[in-house]
């Protein structure tokens, strides 16, 4: 009886461990954040000041590199009215190198200044995006906490001898002026005034662990 229970528990542990290892990422809620949604490929957390933290993964595609997807991300966010104000290389807890992109944003039809930080990690299997967003008044606080957040993030999906995971960073990117606003919106998105520009970008990090 006890033997069977022990075997079952062991099996459950092994399965749980395997599942955990297969998940595209893992992250512990940083201090001040609570997890409100947790799916295998999408996690959302919030802080008291309504700043949101989200981690989302997408399957990578053949040929998709860090530089390619970073450029794609910046270009498309730029079309939506986001203004890139900072770019630099960062590392996750398990040493994967990503690209941190800081944006300013004013949602269409409002005059609310927002900050938006997207950190992109591209591995052979996945594209993982860590997002932080909230009112611009909190931007300085959370821009300073990005490294802390990434310090609790593990990104998976690298293969042995992968060229994707050790790929080069994108060149300095910039958002083009926003495309014409969606038809007849109350107010077109403005590029927004720079809120708290992060330090000059494109600074390389140390070699990945």
């Amino acid at each position: 009886m006890y033997k069977q229970s022990f075997r079952f528990s062991l099996s459950a542990l092994v399965c749980a461990g395997l599942l955990s290892a297969c998940a595209p990422f893992s992250i512990k809620p940083p201090s001040g954040f609570v997890e409100v949604q947790d799916y295998s490929r999408h996690t959302r957390m919030k802080a008291h000041d309504h700043v949101g933290l989200s981690v989302r993964t997408f399957a990578n595609m053949r040929g998709g590199t860090q530089a390619f997807w970073a450029e794609d991300l910046v270009k498309k966010l730029g079309m939506r009215g986001y203004t890139l104000v900072g770019q630099r290389a960062v590392k996750s807890k398990n040493g994967k190198v990503g690209t941190r992109l800081d944006f300013n944003y004013v949602p269409p039809g409002t005059d609310e200044q927002k900050f938006y930080i997207a950190v992109l990690f591209v591995t052979d299997e996945y594209r993982t995006v860590v997002q932080l967003a909230g009112d611009a008044e909190h931007s300085a606080t959370y821009q300073a906490r990005v490294d802390e957040v990434l310090g609790s993030l593990k990104v998976r999906g690298c293969r042995l001898g992968s060229k994707i995971c050790g790929g080069s960073q994108p060149p300095p990117l910039q958002t083009s002026p926003p495309a014409p606003a969606p038809a007849q919106e109350a107010q077109p998105p403005s590029g927004g005034q720079p809120v708290q520009p992060v330090q000059p970008t494109t600074a390389p990090v140390n070699q990945p662990a």
Partner: protein
């Protein structure tokens, strides 16, 4: 004398007039004709004439918002023409009998549109205000869907105003020309009224109960048919005067904030401030 339409607060009543309970010119409403004296018949006849008089006077009533009767005065299809709002004397009803009648187009407009907005609740409130200010009203409402009745002359402007609430995803306008049916009904009503008057005259001249009963039977059939035709005409006038506009208001998230159907990698659609921030 106030017209029937002017007494009615909204065209809904005109719609209701065509319901199964309408057309009450027959026996059930008028009571037992067998027991009626000739003077009663006259009274019934006078009442019928009164209804007719009210009906004929209706187009001249200037009460805004446009009632179905007023829409008879339009000379052009209203939803698309700039002259739609111009009111003229009813061409058909004011023509002397010896002149050829002027047939104006009678068109029912039905429209629907889908708008995507960032704040659905706010947009729905604004949509209701736009409809009301144009002289229309909300016929029905469910989550994200309004069925509005809008004066035909205001339909185009209202659709433009509603489009300003967000991004118009699609917009349809259909028209149905009911000119033939409209004038058929009017002709039929005229003929039936003539027959009705003749039967009333015959009824007065009846010399026996048997004759009176025979005329009365014919009179009841004609009355019923006449009232049905009038009811149908009122429905048509309501539909012509008040266009039906179905508005679907969808909420836009970051994934729809920038339409780009050609994007082979739409992953960025699910990213952004709206997808991340908590309120």
């Amino acid at each position: 004398m106030a017209s029937k339409e002017s007494r009615a607060p909204s065209p809904q009543m005109a719609d209701a007039a065509a319901g199964p309970g309408y057309g009450g010119g027959g026996m059930a409403e008028r009571g037992d004709y067998m027991a009626m004296e000739e003077s009663d018949y006259d009274a019934v006849a006078d009442e019928d004439d009164m209804v007719e008089a009210e009906f004929a006077e209706a187009p001249a009533e200037p009460a805004p918002p446009p009632t179905p009767a007023r829409e008879l005065e339009r000379t052009e299809p209203t939803a698309l023409g700039n002259s739609a709002g111009k009111q003229k004397e009813p061409a058909v009803q004011t023509q002397p009998d010896d002149k050829p009648q002027k047939f104006t187009r009678q068109i029912i407009y039905t429209a629907d549109m889908t708008i995507s907005v960032f704040n659905q609740e706010d947009a729905m409130q604004k949509a209701e205000v736009i409809a009301t200010q144009a002289g229309g009203y909300v016929q029905s409402m469910s989550t994200g869907v309004y069925v509005l009745r809008i004066p035909a002359a205001e339909l185009r402007r209202v659709m433009e105003d509603l489009g300003g609430l967000g991004v118009v995803e699609n917009r349809n306008l259909q028209s149905r020309d009911v000119t033939e049916e409209f004038f058929d009904l009017k002709t039929r009503i005229e003929v039936l009224e003539g027959t009705h008057a003749q039967l009333l005259a015959l009824l007065k001249k009846a010399k026996s109960v048997k004759e009176a009963l025979a005329v009365r039977e014919a009179l009841d059939k004609v009355t019923l048919e006449l009232e049905q035709a009038k009811g149908r005409l009122r429905v048509l006038q309501s539909l012509i005067g008040m266009s039906t506009l179905t508005v679907r208001i969808e909420e836009r998230g970051p994934h729809t904030s920038y339409p780009d159907s050609d994007d082979p990698f739409p992953w960025v659609d699910s990213l952004g401030v709206e997808a991340t921030e908590w309120k």
